[in-house]
Structures are given as structure tokens and as C-alpha cells.
């Protein structure tokens, strides 16, 4: 499986095959490019079918549209964030350093002070510094829609699939669930939005929430979701990274439904497309692409905070690729209405549960 595809040792020095511009020629401040980008992913790393992959899509899009070079690193634990940030910064070769994920906040708060001339962008949190462009998502807004959608669906009779693989809601009992990963402030905003959305739809719909304590434990996610389904939940929404696959598995086992997060998980987890009604997507592509564009065009705005909510299509409720069509248009229209109300400021979405 592999090895060098070209065995004759020509020394054009362009390293690997799984990402262009990635290899030993980077990091030396190539003068022929418009921008050199340093990319530091969140802990789960590439291949997470979610957050990091979305960020990388933004980067690759920019690579197609502009003349850039880049270097990507995937830290293994949170202690490495600061070191990579500094490593990039210290070299002085990068026009922009992109920090993906709120866990980088603390490290960046210090790095930004230590390298005042370096431009940074960070996604999912705010670092107050003149050289950092901040992009935060209004996850609570997207989650509100999801909560609203779930509550409506839980009260209707939704049956999908044939005899041997039938899944359905129970309209007599209206329960929906939320599974969080680590009990952190960011994840709580998902929970807050979701619960508010359910409440807004119908105060009688019950919400069960719990946290697994980890983003990496799908087995725990499965058990958490299973007990929710066991208690009558029709739909479980998760904001728990890798743990979430367990939620889908549980939905599959129990003939129930689930809702994905970050990316359209009915596409990124095709094996579970038959249980994923919708996903709360966060378009991480957008800030990554935008910040690169700004850097090239000289319009990088340090100290700015860009809030990406429903209005800017930073977050959205997208229906499942396979079963999304089964949701009635009435419900979809209702959801659209609510979306508009949020954008218009008619609904105030809380940030804490």
C-alpha cells in the first residue's frame, strides 16, 4: 500500500501526497506567494468529519482561489497549542496564523501579547488583542432551531423506513434529549439554545440533558442516548464530537432519530444518514476563508469580533440528506419562520441553560 510512487529520486523536495504545500518547503517564507498561512487545528485533528475538516475545507478553497502556501499542525493535547502558536510566530514567516477551537483561547491570549506584530485569527472564542481577528458562532441560535424542530417532530407521527428497519416518533409522549461532551461553557450554549427552542415550541415537551465527560467516548455517548430513548425520547441532539457517533448508533439500535452537529453529519457519517434528521452546522469554512482573503487584501482587522449567527449563515439547521425530505413542509416552514424571528431580534435566545 504505498511507499513512494516515484522511485527515481528527483529532488523537487515536495513532500507528501496528502496535502499540497505541506512538507519541508514550508515555513521558510516563500516570497512568491501572496500569503503564508499557519494552521493550528483543534485537538481531534483532521479526519474528524466535522470541525477541523470544515476548517481545512476553508483553507483549501482559499488555496484554489489565491496564491498561498500553508503549514498545518494537529496538536495532540491542549498543552501544545501555545507551543505551536509560538513556533509559528517565532519564525516570522507567516502572514496569518489560524487557531481553530476555543481551547486555544488561553494560549493565544499570551501569544498575541508576546508577538504583537503577528496576525492571528481564532474561531469559537474571543481573545482581546489588537492583532487577533475573532470569529464566534452563535451556536445557541442554531441550537434553538434544532430544539424547536425536535419538539415539533416529537409531537407528530413520523415514521420512516420499511418493516425490518422502521423508525418512528411516538406522538403520545413528547421527550427530546441533548447529549453534551465535556461540560464546558461553549457546549452549554448549545444546550441553552436547544432547551429554549423546545420550550418555545411547546412547554410540555420534556428535555433530558446529560454530559458524558468526554469528546472521545462514543460508547459513553451511546449509553447516554440509549437511556434517553429508553425514557421515551424520540430525538436526541448531540454536541459531543467523537462521542456523538454513539448517539447515532443508539438511535439506530432503538429505531429513533438523532441530530448532528458542526457539519452536515448525514453526509460525513453516511452510515447513519438514515437516523440523522438534521444537523446544526457551523460553517467554519467561512471564517477561515474570509480571514485569509482579508489578509491578502490587506483588510485584516485585528481586534474585531465577527459573530456568525443565523443571519450570516454562520450557523444553520440543515436537513438530513437521506431522511430530511420526510419532514413535512409545514414544519419546515415553521422552522423558517422562527429563524426569521431570531434574525429580526423578535426572539431572544439565551446563552446559558
Amino acid at each position: 500500500t504505498g511507499g513512494p510512487t516515484d522511485g527515481n529520486g528527483s529532488d523537487d523536495g515536495n513532500g507528501s501526497g496528502n496535502g499540497d504545500g505541506n512538507g519541508d518547503d514550508t515555513g521558510n517564507g516563500d516570497a512568491d506567494v501572496d500569503a503564508n498561512i499557519g494552521m493550528i487545528y483543534a485537538e481531534a485533528g483532521l479526519g474528524d468529519n466535522s470541525f477541523n475538516d470544515a476548517a481545512q475545507r476553508g483553507l483549501l478553497e482559499a488555496d484554489e482561489d489565491f496564491n498561498i502556501s500553508f503549514n498545518e499542525v494537529e496538536p495532540d493535547d491542549t498543552g501544545e497549542f501555545s507551543q505551536f502558536q509560538r513556533q509559528f510566530s517565532e519564525s516570522g514567516d507567516f502572514d496569518l496564523i489560524s487557531c481553530i477551537g476555543f481551547a486555544q483561547e488561553d494560549a493565544l491570549a499570551e501569544s498575541a501579547v508576546d508577538y504583537p506584530d503577528q496576525q492571528y485569527m481564532i474561531v469559537d472564542t474571543v481573545v482581546e488583542a489588537d492583532n487577533v481577528a475573532n470569529y464566534v458562532f452563535k451556536e445557541n441560535e442554531g441550537s434553538f432551531l434544532i430544539g424547536y424542530l425536535s419538539a415539533l417532530l416529537s409531537q407528530t407521527d413520523l415514521t420512516i423506513g420499511s418493516d425490518d428497519d422502521e423508525r418512528s416518533t411516538n406522538p403520545d409522549e413528547s421527550v427530546v434529549g441533548f447529549v453534551g461532551g465535556v461540560d464546558a461553557p461553549l457546549i452549554r450554549t448549545f444546550q441553552a439554545g436547544f432547551e429554549a427552542g423546545v420550550e418555545y415550541a411547546d412547554g410540555d415537551v420534556e428535555v433530558i440533558s446529560s454530559y458524558t465527560g468526554s469528546f472521545n467516548d462514543p460508547n459513553a455517548g451511546r449509553e447516554a442516548a440509549l437511556s434517553m430513548y429508553d425514557d421515551g425520547a424520540d430525538i436526541v441532539y448531540h454536541a459531543s464530537g467523537g462521542t456523538g457517533v454513539g448517539v447515532f448508533q443508539a438511535a439506530d439500535d432503538e429505531g429513533k432519530f438523532a441530530i448532528g452537529v458542526d457539519s452536515d453529519q448525514s453526509l460525513t457519517e453516511p452510515d447513519f444518514a438514515h437516523v440523522i434528521l438534521a444537523s446544526m452546522v457551523k460553517l467554519v469554512e467561512t471564517p477561515v476563508y474570509e480571514s485569509i482573503q482579508n489578509t491578502i487584501e490587506g483588510s485584516f482587522e485585528g481586534g474585531s469580533v465577527v459573530e456568525l449567527g443565523l443571519e450570516d449563515e454562520g450557523v444553520a439547521c440543515v436537513y438530513g440528506d437521506e431522511i430530511g425530505d420526510e419532514i413535512s413542509d409545514d414544519i419546515k416552514d415553521d422552522v423558517d419562520d422562527v429563524r426569521q424571528q431570531i434574525i429580526d431580534g423578535e426572539i431572544d435566545v439565551p446563552e446559558e441553560p
Binding site: D183, S209, F215, P218, E223, S227, D231
Partner: protein, 354 residues
């Protein structure tokens, strides 16, 4: 006067109950204690259904919670049984965590390589993957055995090394093959088979350890290897066998863990998340008895399952605090119930004279 006498009698009764409890064997103490606590919760819960005890009782006496407890406990119990064989034979294997990691990963890798939907000789790929996971556990434990028995490595240190190697190797290999530390979903699982595998393994391990010659050699190798040696049985062979069995059972545990959900996650501490260490606690807690280790694993699984439900019925306690309950229980039990008897020669090298 009479009251006094009654009180005395009462105290006598209490004292004799406690005495009687204390005279029970360790494993029975735990069993009796657990049943006692459950019964207490049940009774209080019945009397005061609105109290937290009522909630607790409703959670505990529920079939789905029980199956959940079984499922959570399966990988732990399997690894714990593996640990018993190694340590009973005289080799302390604290690398169980590493064995779980490597087997969990290999099981997914091989299934993915074959193609999850394929079959090989009528065996579904996922079961080939399962076997491959077990094999990976056995191979890594074989390496550990050689290092410990032939090269007389310090067992604790070598065990740590096994963990660290697996912790690096699995995500490393995953990145090479799958392009990320997480493998992504296979789209197929082995369902609830791990429960059956665990129950069978408990039974098999118990018979093997207590009713076969091999079992008595294992026990002798860990208690007094010289006795075994002078009886003409090679201590190092028995110890190798014990270590390989630890890889075998832990391998089933790891493969069960990843294949019951159909993917491997290599981020952070990997999806194994300390289950190997909990397994060590489980077998120490279960006093090296496969049935005891199973009971201890079930206790952890049960506490975990209860913990999930407690969160969900919305007790105002922070979730993280609720998740801490199992660990605190272990410490309390260790402090107040008793201790386990480590095999006398465990951790010590044995040299056949010449």
C-alpha cells in the same frame, strides 16, 4: 431496667451482626454489602417514593439499566480477567490499558481493510476484525512477556511502556491508514455480543483457574514458583501462558469496545479512556477471582449507568460531580471493607537454578 436490658440485647444483636459480617470472606462481604445497600435503597425508596431514594430505587430496579451496566462493564471485565491470569501467574500487567487500545484499533483497522460488508470464508469481516484485535492483544502481550520473563524487566515499568507504546502507535497507524486519529465509522457493529462474550469468559476463566491443572500451575507460579519448578513444570512457560492469556482476554475487551460501536477514536487518551486502569482496580477489588472481577466491573458499570440516569432526571448536582461517584465509592470500599491478597511471588522474577 427492662429498657436497658433490651437495649443491651439490641446492641448485642448489632454487634453479632457486624461480627458475622466481618467473619465473611472478602468476596462475600462485598456481595452481602452490595445486596444490603440495594435492599436498603429499595425499601427506603418504596416508603418514600418522592425522596431521592425513591428516584434512585426507580433507576436501579430497571432492566434496561441492568443491561446497560452489563454493556459498560464488558470491556472492563474482560481486561480484568486478563489481568488476573497475568498476575496470578506472577507477572503484574499494568499495561492492560495499552492492550485494550491496540486491540480496539486493530479490530477496526482489519475490518476496514477487508471491507465491513465483506465476508471471508462465510465469516463476516467484523468478526475477522474481532479476531485480529484479539491477536493484536496477544502479540503485544507476548512482547511484554518476553521482556518481563526472559529479560527480567521490571514489570511495572514494562507495563507502563506497553501503555505508552500503544497510546502512540494506534493513533499513529490510524493517521497513516485513515488520515486521522479517528478511524471513522465502519457502519456495522457486533451489537450486544460483548455481554455474551464476557459472561462466557467469566465462566471459562473460573473453570480454567480453579478446576484445571493449568489453573493450578498458574496459581502456583504466582505463589511459590519454586514449588512448581521442583514439580517439574516450567515456571517461565506458565508465566508466558498467563501473560498471553491476559493479551487474549484484554484483546477481546478492546475489540468489544471498538466494534460494539463500530469505530476507533485515537484522540487524547483514545476511546479506551482509562478502562484498562479501572480493570486493574476491578480485579484487585474482586480479589483475583474472575467472578469477583466480574462483580466489581458490574459495580462500576452499574454506578456509571445510574450516574447517567441521575444526570438525566436533573439532579442539581453538577454532572462532573456525579461522574465522580464511582471513584469515590471505590475508595470508600477499600478504606472500610478490606484488602486483597496479592500473589506472593507477583512482580518477582523467577530464576530456575541454572
Amino acid at each position: 431496667m427492662r429498657e436497658n436490658a433490651e437495649q443491651n440485647q439490641d446492641q448485642e444483636l448489632k454487634k453479632s451482626l457486624i461480627d458475622r459480617f466481618k467473619s465473611l470472606s472478602y468476596v462475600w462481604q462485598i456481595i452481602v454489602g452490595t445486596i444490603g445497600v440495594l435492599a436498603l435503597i429499595g425499601v427506603v425508596g418504596l416508603l418514600f417514593p418522592a425522596s431521592p431514594a425513591g428516584d434512585l430505587a426507580r433507576i436501579i430496579f430497571r432492566w434496561s439499566v441492568f443491561t446497560q451496566a452489563l454493556r459498560i462493564s464488558a470491556p472492563i471485565a474482560l481486561a480484568a480477567i486478563g489481568g488476573i491470569f497475568a498476575e496470578k501467574s506472577g507477572v503484574i500487567n499494568i499495561g492492560l490499558e495499552g492492550l485494550l487500545i491496540i486491540s480496539a484499533f486493530t479490530a477496526v483497522l482489519v475490518t476496514a481493510m477487508i471491507g465491513p460488508a465483506e465476508t471471508v470464508a462465510f465469516i463476516p469481516a467484523i468478526w475477522i476484525g474481532f479476531l485480529a484485535g484479539v491477536l493484536a492483544g496477544v502479540i503485544l502481550s507476548a512482547l511484554f512477556g518476553i521482556v518481563c520473563i526472559e529479560f527480567k524487566a521490571d514489570q511495572i515499568i514494562a507495563g507502563l511502556a506497553v501503555w505508552l507504546i500503544a497510546l502512540g502507535l494506534a493513533p499513529f497507524a490510524s493517521t497513516l491508514y485513515f488520515g486521522g486519529r479517528d478511524t471513522g465509522s465502519l457502519g456495522t457493529t457486533i451489537g450486544n455480543w460483548p455481554i455474551a462474550i464476557m459472561l462466557l469468559s467469566v465462566l471459562a476463566a473460573w473453570v480454567l483457574l480453579n478446576h484445571t491443572t493449568f489453573g493450578s500451575y498458574i496459581r502456583a507460579a504466582g505463589e511459590n514458583p519454586k514449588a512448581l519448578d521442583t514439580a517439574g513444570v516450567s515456571v517461565s512457560r506458565i508465566r508466558h501462558a498467563g501473560v498471553l492469556l491476559s493479551g487474549f482476554f484484554a484483546g477481546m475487551g478492546g475489540a468489544s469496545l471498538s466494534l460494539s460501536i463500530g469505530l476507533f477514536i485515537g484522540t487524547g487518551e483514545t476511546m479506551v479512556e482509562g478502562r484498562g486502569f479501572i480493570a486493574i482496580v476491578a480485579y484487585l477489588f474482586g480479589n483475583y477471582n474472575p467472578v469477583g472481577a466480574f462483580g466489581a466491573s458490574l459495580l462500576f458499570g452499574g454506578l456509571d449507568a445510574i450516574q447517567i440516569r441521575l444526570q438525566q432526571i436533573g439532579y442539581g448536582i453538577p454532572d462532573t460531580l456525579v461522574q465522580t461517584i464511582p471513584y469515590i465509592v471505590v475508595i470508600l470500599v477499600l478504606a472500610f471493607v478490606g484488602r486483597t491478597r496479592i500473589p506472593k511471588a507477583a512482580g518477582k522474577h523467577y530464576e530456575t537454578e541454572e
